[in-house]
């Protein structure tokens, strides 16, 4: 049933040249006269011929496919990165095979094996575990917001937001709005990202000589809203008091806001809240969330650029890129006091 497209052979016959010449014309490679080129191109145009990428992939031993490993595409922040990656690759005549891992290592290695079998020419890892990826993998790879187990290779491509600075900005903002007893809540799955954000936060506190109460530094193992909601409820019910809260994620902030609301704690008068990511919920929440914006699109774009450079074998100047983050002030911190 599946209508077979024409092959290079038919095109060659139709235009009265050899397949080799057609190939040369298609790939702008080698010599051919202006005339033949035009003739061949005309036939290609007329018959809407599209070269079979599978065959080309086999011959060149390199498909135009890139594997993208992402924990959960349902997460808007990841989806934004993936979307950009996909668009960017498409522009360069590549395609992306997106693989969700659900944070499951086993699933991840199945995916990896699968991608290898598909002969992908590169890999992009988004977030997740500090990655057991074999450095011997030897496939061009870029890591977004994630590090390979040992970054011994000095030319490993890593793209990440300036999480330290993000944490710092969040801390400063909270302080500027008068908060002095500040809680933090991090998703433990954020690994290094979470840790570095906290480091920045710490730095802000130190600079201002504001103590950090260990009881107020929370970790949640689960995704976003529900975990934070529960956790903050518990904290409140335990009688802990605080006037500031830095959340590692906007969804964590949403959960926290709900919990605070339920216990009658007003935001921002009683507690100031800062999130992270600047996902759409941060804008559209009934109480818009002050947050640290990460540039997901830039991350995706840069990932593709660098990966394609590596695939092409070009030298990459700064393989470790750190992207700027930005404080977005909204309702959960209120007006500067």
């Amino acid at each position: 049933m599946t209508m077979k497209g024409l092959s290079i052979k038919q095109i060659s016959e139709l235009s009265g040249v050899s397949t080799a010449t057609v190939s040369r014309v298609i790939n702008h490679n080698g010599r051919f006269s202006k005339e033949t080129e035009e003739r061949v191109l005309a036939v290609i145009q007329e018959y809407q011929y599209v070269p079979n990428m599978v065959a080309r992939g086999l011959r060149r031993n390199a498909s135009a496919i890139v594997g993208v490993i992402v924990p959960d595409i349902t997460n808007e922040f990841f989806a934004r990165i993936v979307l950009k990656i996909q668009m960017q690759l498409f522009e360069r005549n590549f395609s992306a095979v997106i693989c969700n891992t659900n944070e499951n290592e086993q699933l991840e290695s199945s995916h990896l094996q699968f991608l290898r079998a598909q002969n992908v020419s590169g890999l992009i890892f988004i977030s997740g575990n500090p990655s057991h990826v074999q450095p011997s993998e030897s496939l061009p790879t870029v890591f977004i917001d994630r590090r390979p187990k040992d970054v011994k290779a000095r030319d490993t491509i890593i793209i990440e937001s300036d999480n330290v600075h993000g944490g710092y900005l969040a801390g400063k903002a909270l302080l500027a709005h008068g908060a002095r007893r500040i809680a933090t809540i991090m998703d433990s799955r954020m690994h290094t990202a979470g840790q570095t954000r906290f480091m920045g936060f710490e730095k802000a506190m130190k600079e201002a000589h504001v103590p950090i109460d260990p009881h107020l530094q929370l970790q949640v193992p689960e995704i976003g809203f529900r975990a934070a909601h529960e956790c903050i409820l518990k904290l409140l019910d335990a009688g802990e008091s605080f006037d500031g809260l830095f959340c590692g994620t906007d969804w964590l902030a949403m959960g926290a806001l709900a919990a605070l609301h339920e216990r009658g704690v007003h935001v921002p008068t009683q507690v100031k809240v800062v999130g992270f990511d600047d996902v759409s919920i941060a804008t559209f929440s009934s109480k818009p969330i002050t947050t640290i914006r990460q540039d997901a699109e830039k991350m995706g774009e840069m990932a593709v650029d660098l990966l394609l450079m590596r695939i092409a074998g070009s030298k990459i100047e700064h393989p470790h890129r750190v992207l700027e983050v930005e404080l977005i002030q909204r309702a959960t911190t209120g007006i500067i006091s």
Copy 2:
């Protein structure tokens, strides 16, 4: 640099048989003795051999890749469908190439051409325009929430939610909570989905002999929140009054809620609101949204099942599947009066 994996040839030499036999063992195809099988399998195991899918694809003229066309993966509802599709395909040793179209027809056809070149063995279209897809495309295809231009072929696979019933349930719910002057707001990009939802709504109104005021039936051209927000603000400021609102999307509902809030209209006392999709925002909004739940996961699962059946050439009993929807009562409608 890229470490080449072994080929079937090496495996055949290593296990002292011909490549043909190795191939047979791998594919459980044809005859071979128990012993040879074990020997070959052992070698494969030892060397972690993974067959090159590109070569297989070329030979069999069928890759294990399915193309997925989706308007915007950043939309949670679509992301959920895509996620399920991807997982489901992976289990069956297929992979998905996801293509975002941004509702752009030209981009869509580029994608299509690209996918053809990749020799995908099937296509899944999610939502979007009533589709100019060539029926002559002749590639196994399933449509989710979308129809090809002419559904003349009686065996076209279409999967959709029972949008009529969804609209009906929404209308009934609004009525049950005492609403009598009910506005609707649909995303014009939802095309048939939006229209059918409205039809169901109409039916509910007719049954209850409640008139529908044309002034209150709104269409917005843009995505979700912002458009609805603006639109409802305008409606309110024009002095139109209503006590119920059916939104074609949860994000539309969010925008509407924000607008109502800004104008001091209380939900649900003054206006009852019902959304559609049951996306996470509906649960986690500070005012949880009553909505019509669509089963995104089921849609994805079913899409893969049917597509793979079609690819395999099996007969498909009911190619037009309509999935049940469910009313989820939450805060925006309040208690039944």
